[in-house]
Symmetry: C2
Subunit: 492 residues, 2 copies
C-alpha cells in the first residue's frame, strides 16, 4: 500500500478551535481520527512567518498579544476593524495553549507514535500570507523591517513579490535557526522543508544561482539532522515539497533531483501550489529522474479544484475527485498520496462526511478499485518567472476541426464510463465526440454533483471498448464555434 501523508496547518487547528478552551486531552484526540486509516505520516506545520509554539528564535503568533486587551489593542491595530475579532480569537487560542503549557507539536508527536503514525514537522520556508497588508500581526519583524531582503522590492503585482530572497544569508540564517530549534525541541521522525509555501525564493532571473543555494541549505539541514540522529538514536528523515514539474521546480531554484541523487532527501512531495488540484503531474518523469535512489515520491493533492486559471468558481474536491486524481497518480508510480489542506474542518474537502472514507481509501489503488471516481482536466498553477505556461482550458474550438483533450485516468475503469464536456455559459455544444478515436453517444445536458463548470455540461456515453487505462484522448468536432471549459471522464 502506498499510503497517505497528511499535512496539518497549525493555524487551521487554532482558528477552527477558537470558540472554546482546549485541553491537552482534546489536542491529543485530534490525532486519533487519523489512526487506523491509510495515513502513514502526520506532517505538522509549525509556522508561517511566526511560530505556533513558544519559540526562542522566532516570534510566535501571539508575541505582542495582550489576552486582556480586547479588539482595540496595539497588536491588532494593523488589521481592518472587521477582521480583528476573528484574529483575536484565533491568536488567543494559541496563547491559551501556551499559557496552559500545552505544546501542540509535542503532544501530537507523542500521540502519533502511540497510535502508529509517523510524526513529522513541516517548516514553511517562505510563507507570505496577507503581505498585501504589511501591518498584519502575522508578519515577522524581520520581514516588516527589512524590505531589502525581499525578492522583488521594485514591484508588487503578487504576494510572491514580497517573499524573502534566499540569496540573502540573513534570510537563510533566520530560517536555519528555526530548524535548529525544532530539531532540538521536538523528537520527530522526519522534517519537511516546504518550499511550496509559497514557491518563489529568489529575485527574478536569479533562480539558477538560487538552485545551488537551496541545495547547500538542504545539505546543511541534512547535516544537522545527522547530528540529531546520533542523539535521538533513530533515523530522522528529510523531505521537501517542490513544484509539480521538474523543469519548473529547477527553474524556481528547487533542484530536487540533485537533492535526491546526493542522498539529502528521503522523500519529495511534488505538488501544485494552491489554486487547484493538479490531476496530470508528470509522475513517470519524476520516477525516471529518481531512478537509482530510494526517495519516496509523494503526489501532492490540494483541496481546491479549478479547470483553468481564470475560473471564478471556488470549489473544493470531493471523495470522488480525489479518488480520480489519486488513482491516476498512484498508477503512474507515485509512492504516496500527500493531502494538503484536507483538514478536519473549515479548510476541508467539500463532502467532509466522507473524510474517513478518504483517509481509508485514497492511499491505495486496491481500496479505490471499482469505486466511483472522477477524472477532471485541471492545470499547473506554478511556473517560473517568464516560463511558457500552458493550459488545456479554456479551449476555443472553431467548427469543422477536431480539438483534442488529454486526460489520464489511472487503471482502466470498470463498468460504464462517461465523458463530460462543459462550455461557456450561454453556449451550446453540438458536434461529434470521440474517445481514443471511437465515437461516443451524446446524452444531453447533465447535472454534476460536486465540482462543476460555470456553464452547461454535456454527457457522452463512452462505448465500453473505447476507454483504456492511462492517458485517454477525447476529441471534439464542433458544429459551431464553442469554448470548452470542462473536460471530465467519470465512472458513473
Amino acid at each position: 500500500m502506498a499510503g497517505i501523508s497528511l499535512n496539518e496547518d497549525c493555524n487551521h487547528y487554532i482558528v477552527s478551535r477558537r470558540h472554546r478552551e482546549l485541553t491537552a486531552e482534546e489536542v491529543e484526540r485530534w490525532v486519533d481520527q487519523y489512526a487506523d486509516t491509510q495515513v502513514e505520516e502526520l506532517v505538522l506545520n509549525v509556522n508561517a512567518m511566526r511560530t505556533c509554539y513558544d519559540s526562542r528564535v522566532w516570534e510566535s503568533f501571539w508575541s505582542g498579544y495582550d489576552p486582556l486587551g480586547g479588539n482595540d489593542q496595539p497588536f491588532l491595530a494593523g488589521l481592518p476593524e472587521e477582521a480583528r475579532e476573528l484574529r483575536r480569537q484565533w491568536v488567543h487560542r494559541g496563547w491559551q495553549l501556551h499559557r496552559d503549557g500545552i505544546d501542540l507539536f509535542e503532544r501530537w508527536i507523542a500521540r502519533a507514535r502511540e497510535r502508529g503514525i509517523s510524526p513529522w514537522i513541516s517548516v514553511r520556508m517562505n510563507d507570505i500570507h496577507c503581505v498585501d497588508n504589511e501591518l498584519d500581526p502575522m508578519h515577522s519583524t524581520l520581514w516588516r523591517q527589512h524590505p531589502e531582503l525581499r525578492r522583488a522590492p521594485y514591484k508588487f503585482d503578487d504576494w510572491a513579490d514580497k517573499a524573502f530572497d534566499y540569496a540573502r544569508p540573513e534570510v537563510r540564517e533566520h530560517h536555519f535557526r528555526l530548524i535548529e530549534e525544532l530539531a532540538e525541541r521536538y523528537d520527530f521522525d522526519g522534517l519537511e522543508l516546504d518550499w511550496m509555501r509559497f514557491g518563489y525564493h529568489f529575485r527574478p532571473g536569479f533562480e539558477e544561482e538560487g538552485a545551488a543555494i537551496l541545495t547547500q541549505f538542504t545539505a546543511d539541514v541534512r547535516a544537522l539532522l545527522d547530528r540529531w540522529e546520533a542523539k535521538r538514536g533513530h533515523r530522522i528523515k528529510l523531505s521537501a515539497r517542490v513544484a509539480s514539474r521538474p523543469q519548473t521546480a529547477l527553474s524556481l531554484g528547487m533542484d530536487a533531483v540533485e537533492w535526491a541523487k546526493r542522498g539529502l532527501v528521503d522523500m519529495l512531495v511534488v505538488t501544485p501550489f494552491w489554486a487547484t488540484i493538479e490531476t496530470d503531474m508528470p509522475i513517470e518523469l519524476w520516477k525516471q529522474l529518481l531512478r537509482g535512489t530510494d526517495v519516496t515520491l509523494a503526489a501532492g493533492i490540494e483541496v481546491l479544484i479549478r479547470a483553468f486559471p481564470k475560473s471564478a468558481l471556488r470549489q473544493m474536491n470531493t471523495l470522488e475527485t480525489v479518488r480520480g486524481a489519486a488513482s491516476s497518480l498512484l498508477s503512474r508510480g507515485a509512492d504516496r498520496i500527500y493531502l494538503f489542506n484536507y483538514m478536519d474542518s473549515d479548510t476541508a474537502m467539500a463532502d467532509l462526511d466522507n473524510y474517513n472514507e478518504l483517509l481509508c481509501g485514497a492511499g491505495a489503488l486496491e481500496t479505490m478499485a471499482g469505486k466511483p471516481r472522477r477524472h477532471i482536466v485541471t492545470y499547473s498553477d506554478t511556473w517560473a518567472p517568464g516560463e511558457a505556461a500552458g493550459f488545456q482550458l479554456p479551449a476555443a474550438c472553431p467548427p469543422g476541426r477536431f480539438r483534442e483533450f488529454r486526460l489520464h485516468v489511472g487503471p482502466r475503469p470498470e463498468g460504464p464510463a462517461y465523458l463530460y464536456l462543459g462550455v461557456l455559459p450561454g453556449e451550446e455544444l453540438s458536434g461529434e465526440v470521440r474517445l481514443n478515436g471511437v465515437v461516443c453517444a451524446a446524452e444531453g445536458v447533465a447535472e454534476l454533483a460536486g465540482p462543476r463548470p460555470e456553464g452547461p455540461v454535456y454527457r457522452f456515453r463512452i462505448p465500453e471498448e473505447a476507454v483504456h487505462g492511462g492517458y485517454n484522448v477525447a476529441e471534439l468536432l464542433p458544429d459551431r464555434e464553442t469554448t470548452v471549459i470542462w473536460v471530465e471522464l467519470a465512472t458513473s
Copy 2:
C-alpha cells in the same frame, strides 16, 4: 570540443543538383566541405516514403519514372501541372545517379571516412511530406493503398493525421525491412532512427502503449546492429531523434530515457520538429535523466526561426542566431550540436556566406566565445495530442503590471549587451524595462539585420552588471496596453 552532427536530406541533394548530370567525383566532393570543420558526423538521410537508392524492399523515388516520358507521363500525373517540371528534374537526377551506378550513400560513406568524418545513415520513420495530395508520386504504394494503416483515418486536419500507425505490425515490418537492407548494404558507423519526421506515430490516445512498441522496435534494431557489428568488425552505434521535452517525447510514445537506460542507444537528438529553432530546450533535465549512461545528448537545431506559432514570417537562422542557441544549449550540457536543414544550398541558413564559419564554430563554446550572438525567445513546436501547450509569445501586456520573459543566454556575454522587445505592427512600446531587476535604458526603435519581428522592435541598453550567464529574466512594465511579439538579448 562538443562538435557538430549534420543531417543531409537526400532529396535536398538531388533537387539542388537537378540542372546537370552528376559524376561520382562531384558526389564525393560534397563531403569535402565538411572536412576540417567541427562536423563529427555526417548523418545521411536515405528516405522519405521512398528511398534515394535502388532498394529491393522499398520503392525508390524513381520507381515508375520514365526518363524519356517528359512531364505528361503517368508517374507525374498525380501532380498539378505546374509542379511537374521541377519534380521530373528532381527525380531524374536520382534516376541518373542510379543509371550511372553512383550510389550516393556508398560514395559519401567512403569519402567521409577518408576525410575523418564519421558516416551515419538516418531513416525517417514516418515521413508524410505532401500527404494532402494522395496521388503525389513521392508516396509509397503501401501507404496509398492502405489508409487503414494510418493513425487517424477519421480526420484530416493536419498531415500528421495521415501518418502510419506504428501499433500496426505491417507498419513496423515495412520499416524494419528497410533497416535490415541498409545494415546489409552500407557499412556505416551509426544508424539514426528519425522519429521526428514527423513525430506522430500512434492513434490519438494510444501513445502509452506505443511507447512499449517503439522501445521493442528500438531493441530489435539494436539486436540487428549487434549482428552486423560482428560481421563488420567495428562498433555500429544507434541514435534517435525525439521531441525536445521529455514529457512530450514520452507522451508521443518516444521513451528515450528507457532506451538510454537499457543501453539501446548511444546518442539522442532532442529537437523541435520544423517550424522554429527551439532556443530553450530543457537540456539540464535531459542530462539528469541520462545520468549513469554514456549516451551523447545532441541538441537539434532547425533552420527556421519563429517567435510564436502564428507568426506569418518565414525566416531562416543566421550565424549569429545559431551561435546564440548553440552557446546556450552547450552551456546547459549538450554534448553535440545537431544541424538539421542546414544544407549547402536551397534549404539553408539565411547568410550562407557564413556556412563555413558556422561549421567551424557552432560546435564549441570556445570557438563562439566573444563573437556576436543573438538569443531569441522562440517556442516548442511539438506537443502530444491534447497536451497543454505553452508559449511565451505573443504576450498581451496590460499597463501597470510587470510582465516577465525568460531567456537563457549561455555563458555570460562579454562586452555590451542589449535587450530587444518587439510589439505588434502599429503598436508603440513605452514603459519601464528591467533585466534581472535592473532598469535598462531605452534607445528607441532599432533595425535588426537578419531575423526580426513583424512590427517595430525597441532596443534597451543593459547595464553591464545586470546581465549574467544562464537564465535572465526581462521585465516590462508598460504604460499602455501592448502585445509583445519578440524578445531578444544580443551581444551587439
